[in-house]
């Protein structure tokens, strides 16, 4: 791990010593440099990954052993501890992706766009997980794997937006062009997402009354809520750690010719 950290911390020290007094408030901006953030990203990921593992174990313990059986849904409801945090994250990650895309377009920082690119696979994964666990939950409680409910449909469209973003970035050879094209797409998607949600919601209410309303969830017992929150934190930390690790890979790929990467490779070989 120390081998990973030396070039990063070296770059930070260099940036700090050269910072002028009036630029002190902007010191955190030095992490906009991929070389400076490479080390801290690894440290953060190394901290977050075990933390998320511990929290997931605690959350699953609460979810499976402490939380009471639901009066109406029996034990089938217990998928809530995976389903709700995943659905939550699928939207949060899209917002984060759009945020970093906007920052990348406005400030023209390379790391922001790399961050958006690193977030997309995690976001698609959690969207898929939310849909999958939703289907597993729907079968015993609703009697159907899939219902054309507004939430399900808009989640499915969110998955398509993620896939479009990933496909667009993969289809453009020049990485900087791919970054910026992806950023424009992410922002267009953000503008469109509320429209999609409301159109689908209205479409559903017009076609048929929803057989089961997902939105009017009954108030739930405290251990259930606690388990859900702990699992949400665990998934949140996992997503952050996975994104940072992916970001490190992207940085190495992009900066392959830089001197600090060469030094890093030598240090690892020794």
């Amino acid at each position: 791990m120390s081998g990973h950290l030396t070039p990063g911390t070296g770059a930070i020290a260099g940036a700090m010593s050269s910072a002028s007094p009036q630029g002190r408030g902007r010191r955190w901006l030095q992490f906009a440099s991929p070389a400076a953030f490479y080390g801290p990203a690894g440290t953060l990921a190394a901290l977050l990954l075990p933390l998320s593992l511990v929290l997931a174990l605690v959350g699953l313990y609460i979810g499976f052993l402490v939380a009471p059986t639901d009066a109406q849904q029996g034990d089938a409801y217990r998928i809530i501890f995976v389903h709700v945090p995943a659905a939550w994250l699928s939207m949060v990650i899209y917002a984060a992706m759009a945020f970093w895309s906007a920052v990348g377009l406005v400030a023209n920082t390379r790391l922001s766009a790399m961050m958006a690119g690193a977030l997309a696979p995690s976001g698609a994964l959690f969207t898929f997980l939310a849909l999958w666990t939703g289907a597993l939950w729907g079968k015993p409680t609703w009697g159907a794997w899939w219902v054309w409910d507004a939430r399900l449909t808009s989640e499915l469209l969110l998955l398509f937006l993620y896939l479009g973003f990933i496909a667009l970035q993969a289809a453009i050879d020049d990485p900087r062009r791919a970054d910026r094209a992806g950023a424009v797409l992410a922002l267009v998607g953000t503008v469109n997402l509320p429209i999609i949600y409301f159109s689908v919601k209205w479409w559903n209410t017009l076609h048929q009354g929803a057989s089961v309303s997902v939105s009017s969830a009954p108030t739930i017992a405290t251990p259930m809520l606690l388990g859900m929150l702990v699992m949400a934190l665990a998934m949140w930390f996992y997503a952050a750690a996975a994104t940072l690790l992916r970001l490190r890979c992207i940085i190495l790929e992009r900066e392959g010719r830089a001197a600090w990467v060469a030094r890093l490779a030598q240090g690892e070989g020794a």
Binding site: F160, L168, L185, G189, V191, H207
Partner: protein, 222 residues
């Protein structure tokens, strides 16, 4: 400024006229796609009547996506697009003109042809009028929003598939409100709310999409 817009529209219409097989191709695709549905689901008039707005709208969406790659690719290939970017006229205006021309070539013929197809599906006169109105309001949105996807995938590998992947999720609100307008009429409610929302969507797309397209073109050609 309006002179520039008119000039771009005229130029693109002229080019489309010289290569009329392209525009006719996507129109033929629209007709064929609509005609396949009765073959696939059976000839029962009641079922076909209830499906008609959805089928026509989905076919319109697919036909629009099919014609999108042509929006910028020819100008990109012969260098005209670079000259457009370098010109002193606002790129947003040029892009808007190209979207208008795209609608006139691929959207409007489709709208004009749709009553014929709707009759084949057994729609009555009132539903037909609503369907026509919804297509008239909705297909320009397809051209405007599709231009963003076409500009983003310009010069990318397998751009034809990519355009569909990018544009179709963004098209879903148009599909919902467009096909929903006819359904609402059938369900006893008025279709006005849907048509007004489509109109709002058209205004929204007209205000924002050319800017996003222009940004995407600048990225593609930098």
């Amino acid at each position: 400024m309006t002179g520039m817009l008119a000039w771009i529209v005229k130029r693109d219409l002229l080019l489309a006229g010289r290569r009329s097989a392209d525009a006719l191709g996507s129109l033929a695709f629209f007709v064929i796609a609509c005609s396949l549905f009765p073959l696939g689901v059976g000839p029962e008039p009641a079922a076909l009547r209830s499906m008609a707005p959805g089928v026509l709208w989905v076919a319109a969406l697919l036909a629009a996506t099919l014609s999108l790659p042509r929006l910028f690719s020819a100008d990109h290939a012969d260098g005209t697009l670079e000259q457009m970017l370098l010109s002193s006229e606002p790129l947003v205006l040029i892009v808007a003109g190209k979207a208008v021309a795209h609608w006139l070539v691929s959207g409007l013929p489709l709208v004009l042809l749709s009553p014929l197809l709707a009759l084949q599906f057994g729609l009555d006169a009132r539903s037909l009028a609503v369907l026509l109105a919804s297509l008239l309001l909705g297909t320009p949105i397809l051209s405007l929003v599709g231009a963003v996807a076409a500009a983003l995938s310009l010069g990318a590998r397998s751009s034809g598939v990519l355009v569909a992947l990018l544009a179709l999720p963004l098209y879903t609100p148009v599909l919902v409100f467009g096909a929903g307008a006819v359904d609402a009429l059938g369900a006893g409610g008025g279709a006005m709310a849907h048509l007004l929302l489509l109109g709002a969507g058209l205004g929204f797309a007209l205000a924002l999409a050319p800017w996003a397209t222009a940004a995407a073109l600048r990225i593609a050609l930098e």
